[in-house]
Symmetry: C2
Subunit: 483 residues, 2 copies
């Protein structure tokens, strides 16, 4: 006997069901009663909006009504009727209510009051039942879907690059080791080193920091590909911007140069943010208000000039500013905060790595829009970035967003074997371990480019959540692997 015969609240609110007998199922958010009637706000996860259930104590027995408390799961049969009160246009008049699962008010942690984000992080298994996190995770879904839809519609192919890998050539950061060896008693070689021949993969392996290099391999066959998978950093960073486990989107395209790459990244970001604006209206309206309330708690000079929705619309409608690193250094060197020594790191000369304060100045104060920074000094960028003719810079790009800083990093890749191997030698990257990567330059090489987008940064930008731990279901950070 199929049980799932319910109508979703989202459908109820989008179409006219008045007069129909339906079944609803969901969780009780609140109940208020007088002696004549109980009003129950029901949420079923399909939308941020609750639906009003009207329960007549002459029809619904007292024992059932008593068990209808915040967090309880209930099933309602009844008729949809036009609503008398304000708010929604319809409500359900319950002919029967079944308690599917109780939620003891003495024990259920999510009572109808304001909970801190810190507290909710400790009960991440329940926090999706709140308005804020329900909205965040519906928006996260919409963004993930938009990513796939964007690339699919453009003829890109989704590639699953490996999670466990023996390569850490990118040197993108500290990695997690993956092993089946007995940690207490690992097999040793004669010289006392660990004998990885005994490990599962017969070599040292770790969790990937990026699918880019493997993505390039696929792009040299299918031309336009993207990855969307988890990546890992074992950095001991307890910040609002870092996770040990996060999801990355990494498109790689044969036949793209640096400009094609910038065009794609800008179009892509505008598309996915526009998609969320179109498909998550109610959730974003809620998050917009939430962000506005939060702004009220800040000092006047710390407040954003734009609200969340305004900011999202602005980004989708305005071309990003494109400037070179060299131009950025000029702007920063001559900026007020630099002259007045307000920057923590003063910009003195070309070659300096840009800090978050500089990126934010460019985006939030100087240009007041997203900025694509290009052509960085080769010394501060990865070995695989294409060397420009000036001998000093590489065809890198970073896209900087207000509030977030770097949201995209990419480059045209160095397709010329001699330049690539020379740079690898300079940076002490062993060529023999990268034979497969070099093969793509040996056989049928072509100009190509790509970029990486940290998905959680994007979700932060779109939802306005300040802490990255609040946009992934079960965050992994130093000391934290619960659930």
């Amino acid at each position: 006997m199929a049980f799932n015969k319910r109508v979703k609240i989202k459908s109820l609110l989008e179409s006219d069901f008045v007069g129909q007998e339906v079944t609803l199922m969901g969780w009780v958010r609140t109940k208020r009663s007088n002696k004549n009637v109980s009003f129950i706000a029901l949420n079923d996860g399909s939308t941020i909006n609750n639906y009003q259930v009207v329960a007549d104590p002459n029809i619904i027995d007292e024992e059932t009504l008593k068990r209808i408390t915040t967090g309880a799961c209930i099933k309602i049969n009844g008729q949809i009727v036009a609503s008398q009160g304000s708010g929604q246009s319809s409500e359900i008049s319950a002919s029967s209510i079944t308690i599917l699962g109780d939620a003891d008010p003495e024990k259920y942690p999510l009572q109808p009051k304001k909970h801190s984000l810190e507290f909710l992080r400790e009960i991440a298994h329940l926090r999706m039942r709140t308005n804020t996190f329900g909205a965040v995770f519906r928006v996260r879904h919409a963004l993930a879907y938009a990513v796939h839809k964007y690339f699919n519609d453009k003829g890109f192919f989704y590639i699953h690059t490996p999670i466990i890998t023996a390569s850490d050539a990118e040197g993108a950061g500290e990695t997690f080791k993956v092993t089946t060896l007995d940690l207490k008693n690992p097999p040793l070689n004669e010289d006392g080193s660990i004998n990885y021949k005994e490990d599962f993969f017969e070599r040292e392996t770790n969790l990937t920091v990026s699918g880019q290099l493997e993505g390039e391999l696929a792009a040299m066959a299918l031309a336009e590909i993207y990855t969307f998978g988890p990546t890992f950093r074992a950095e001991n960073s307890n910040t609002t911007r870092h996770l040990a486990e996060f999801w990355m989107i990494e498109p790689e395209m044969a036949f793209y140069d640096a400009e094609d790459n910038q065009d794609l990244a800008e179009d892509f970001l505008q598309y996915v943010i526009g998609y969320a604006l179109e498909h998550c209206k109610d959730d974003l309206a809620f998050l917009d208000k939430r962000a506005a309330d939060e702004e009220q708690g800040k000092k006047a000079d710390q407040r954003s000039e734009m609200g969340l929705l305004d900011r999202l619309r602005f980004v989708t409608k305005n071309k990003f500013e494109r400037i070179t690193y060299t131009e950025a250094i000029d702007i920063l060197r001559n900026s007020n905060p630099n002259k007045k020594k307000k920057f923590q790191y003063l910009i003195e000369e070309w070659g300096a790595d840009l800090q978050s304060e500089h990126e934010r100045f460019l985006v939030e104060k100087h240009f007041k829009k997203p900025v694509i920074l290009t052509d960085y000094p080769k010394e501060i960028k990865a070995f695989y970035m294409r060397q420009n003719d000036d001998g000093k810079t590489v065809a890198a790009m970073d896209i900087l967003f207000p509030g977030i800083g770097e949201i995209v990093g990419g480059s045209q890749r160095e397709e010329r074997m001699d330049r690539l191997t020379q740079r690898m030698d300079e940076m002490h990257i062993p060529q023999e371990e990268m034979w497969w990567y070099l093969d793509t330059r040996r056989f049928g090489a072509t100009p190509h480019a790509g970029f990486g987008l940290g998905f959680e940064r994007l979700v932060q930008f779109v939802t306005g959540m300040g802490n990255i731990r609040d946009v992934i279901a079960f965050p992994r950070t130093p000391g934290n692997a619960e659930f």
Copy 2:
């Protein structure tokens, strides 16, 4: 200067470009020449079909023509003209050709001849450039996209469940350890055990074997969710059916019972396979022929009764057979191979775990269609499956496919706290480590269900590839973590 001004071959073949000047870029598959003309078969990854480039030695210089060898990457400017020969209706008459990247015929491994799948596995970084693997990975993309589209269109939310986890309560198999400890010199407690407090997460962690339990948490808030992410097994299985790293799809639905779950799984499988049939016509036609050729090499009694395409169409058009485990045991016990002792494992009594040979008999010989097997003995299933009223069985389902065996495993979940904890105790699963899972039964519980689909098994079924290592870009198996 944007470089990517090409037309994709897929577009060329779908629309009429005759008379237009265009730019093509791609890789040379073959070249044949006489003294008057060279014909180049160009592939750009957008489709399995090559496009014919006609090069006149009076226009294209000899040095360039010489460098146009299999695997080289070239850029062609020219006019699209109606084709004289058979095959496609148009071709490009080259006015200029640029070599983007050479492929030395003495060194390039993918010469135009038949390579074994084993050989191609060793050069997985190049194998996507072959017809077979190009087709496989385009179909894989289409299936992945269909998964997202199916669930999105039904209002499900995509959840990223954690990859690194401290929970292995499901006991689904051997896990990989994840650590940042120094393997040679791990910190020890006074009793000599490893001091995991010093590890990154301050506890023992491993790679996930399933996102189900976390998926259930999300379903208790958002009602209908799915996961699609990598999962891991550290099992030393060197078979054509096992990977150490593979991708799983795991929907979890509040308010679904066992029958709802079966209905969803069947509809889902028919949808994604139908999607591939509709969107991957050329690739599947190629793979159909490839599979037919392979069948020729088999003994008559080993051959499939249906070709690949026939099999796919059959599955999308016929209702799956639904029988209980108990009914299956009756059928198997009375089957010819059981009576004639042809099964390796004879079915003697109720309670026996079904082997691959039994599953294949039911699907391929007895019912000749996909089978949903339900209501297994609780002893051979996981703790979280809902106990049936008979006290012996649980509301499990496995979906069995021809050639593949089990492609889906799922169940209604046990939502009743007392039954769940009793079963955990019987199976020695510590309740205290699962406090968060049990909370979903404590607060607002509801009937719910879900299933898991091994994505690579699905890709195998749709592409007809016999070895699971040939449907994932860079397979991870014992002793194998290259690329």
